[in-house]
């Protein structure tokens, strides 16, 4: 990989597999790893400073990806604070990179300012006619029982249940090519990764 290394750090292994697959699709040479979860981010960033690639100043660009959850602005603010507290530069806005020797970018993953990688992937297939069956399934369950779980992770499982690889989660589904990378749903993420 030479001296100019690029890293993307995601929250979990699902995001990692999606980003790895998308980066491969885009022919990007980038190392994608996990932070061990958003609660681990402060400790992760502090430890990252001691990692050989960073201590030897071999890293040109790094990006932190975090779920928007309920509030993309709050999620961005949180990552920005943790970066600065750990001695890293931070970008001023979501989806951008710092203008520093080590470029640091932050991308908050979600749809319309909320959610997570599953929401982005579901959006990419939401125009398919059979996608309405997913919502119908949850509506039916909710109507006939007290259960009302319609989280995006659950929706991915239901969507995948009709495919050959019926037990895949979002990351494995990405590896197997179940998400259409050409969908506009991935455009913000693709633009960010291309700017690495």
């Amino acid at each position: 990989m030479g001296d100019a290394m690029k890293f993307v750090f995601c929250e979990g292994s699902g995001d990692q597999l999606v980003i790895q697959s998308l980066a491969r699709h885009l022919n990007l040479e980038v190392t994608v790893e996990t932070t061990g979860g958003k609660d681990n981010l402060p400790n992760f960033l502090k430890s990252l400073q001691t990692r050989p690639e960073f201590a030897r100043q071999q890293v040109e660009t790094m990006a932190i990806l975090r779920d928007a959850d309920r509030d993309a602005a709050a999620a961005f603010q949180s990552v920005q604070n943790f970066l600065r507290q750990s001695g890293f530069p931070a970008p001023d806005v979501n989806g951008a990179f710092s203008n520093t020797l080590l470029r640091v970018g932050v991308f908050i993953v979600g749809v319309n300012g909320v959610g997570m990688i599953e929401d982005v992937c579901l959006k990419s297939v939401s125009d398919l006619p059979e996608f309405s069956c997913v919502d119908s399934y949850f509506a039916c369950i909710s109507e006939k029982s007290a259960r009302s779980n319609s989280s995006s992770k659950a929706k991915v499982r239901v969507w995948m249940a009709s495919h050959d690889d019926y037990d895949y989660r979002v990351g494995k589904a990405a590896e197997k090519g179940y998400w259409p990378w050409e969908s506009p749903a991935f455009d913000p993420l693709k633009n960010f990764l291309k700017a690495l």
Binding site: G36, N43, F44, Q49, T50, R51, A55
Partner: protein, 328 residues
């Protein structure tokens, strides 16, 4: 105890600062990043604490093997870039808030150039006069060197007899029992003719016959060697090069348990170098077993033309292990 070390213009180290130091300091890094150089710098800084050992003159062969013209092949190379006009400066800070600096400055201090405070002459290395400065001294910080050169069982027996002479046998046996619970006693014995049979060290494991320690594990022998040296020489700073050398990685937990015990029991500070990840993990585990995490993992990295030190603390090492980062 040393709390920080700052090395200027020494070997490949133009400006290296290591801080904070702990009771046990494990130095890692790629080849030619100056790990052994740091140990040599410590020898120079602390050598006045061991005046009888003539460590400075022995420096070329303490950790290395030097051939031919020593001046050309060793002493000149102590100066950064082999530039003998450079000012070698090795500064140690201690936990009593005092500082000690070791200097080699062949051209001396020019008229008008400010000399370091409390400058005093301190012998020479090669052809160059040495100086010490600062309000501290190395008294009570006698170094002991453990290189990759193989040990000599006969000399080990002589050293052990001095352990007995100093009435510290029981203390050494007690420590060794931590890693070999069957141990009842360690003795230096001469079996056979006095002239032709040198003494060797034997261990009593409660078997029908005592067993030469050379037949026991490598970890046991290494620790016996280290404990004996600490006791006999009253060493307070252990400088151990490539600690894993000649040892199977499975022995490392025993070695580190023993070293942390020694650090506490004898109040010694340890500086060791390693290339081994298993060694780092074993040191970390031994440190976690103690009342206080007293390990600094120090990695030396080449950053452009310089060597920089990164001190990796307990939390960062824990993260590295969890996420399987390569930290050497």
């Amino acid at each position: 105890m040393l709390t920080s070390l700052h090395i200027n213009n020494f070997r490949g180290l133009r400006d290296l600062k290591i801080e904070p130091l702990k009771r046990v300091n494990l130095i890692t890094g790629q080849n030619n990043t100056g790990k052994t150089g740091v140990l040599e710098a410590l020898v120079l800084l602390l050598s006045e604490a061991a005046p009888n050992q003539n460590l400075r003159n022995q420096l070329p062969n303490l950790f290395r093997t030097v051939g031919g013209d020593y001046h050309e092949n060793y002493w000149k190379w102590l100066f950064f870039g082999k530039d003998v006009s450079k000012h070698i400066e090795i500064k140690g800070s201690f936990d009593n808030a005092k500082e000690l600096q070791f200097h080699v400055k062949p051209n001396g201090w020019r008229a008008g150039e400010q000399q370091p405070a409390q400058l005093r002459h301190s012998g020479q290395i090669g052809n160059s006069p040495c100086f010490l400065s600062g309000n501290g001294d190395s008294a009570g910080l006698k170094p002991a060197v453990f290189s990759t050169h193989p040990s000599n069982p006969t000399q080990d027996a002589v050293d052990y007899q001095r352990v007995v002479l100093k009435r510290r046998k029981k203390q050494v046996e007690k420590l060794l029992r931590e890693i070999e619970p069957r141990l009842e006693a360690v003795e230096a014995l001469r079996i056979g003719d006095q002239n032709s049979s040198p003494s060797l060290i034997y261990a009593d494991l409660g078997l029908s016959e005592m067993i030469p320690v050379t037949q026991l594990g490598q970890g046991f022998n290494r620790l016996l060697d280290i404990y004996s040296e600490i006791v006999v020489e009253d060493a307070k700073v252990l400088l151990i090069d490539e600690i894993e050398n000649g040892l199977h990685h499975s022995v490392m937990p025993v070695i580190w348990k023993g070293l942390f015990l020694a650090a506490k029991e004898f109040d010694v500070q340890i500086f060791a170098t390693t290339h081994s990840w298993e060694c780092i993990l074993a040191a970390d585990e031994a440190a976690r077993a103690g009342e206080k995490y007293d390990l600094a993992l120090i990695r030396l990295d080449r950053v452009k033309e310089d060597i920089k030190a990164t001190v990796i603390d307990e939390k960062s090492l824990s993260t590295a292990k969890e996420l399987q980062w390569e930290m050497r």
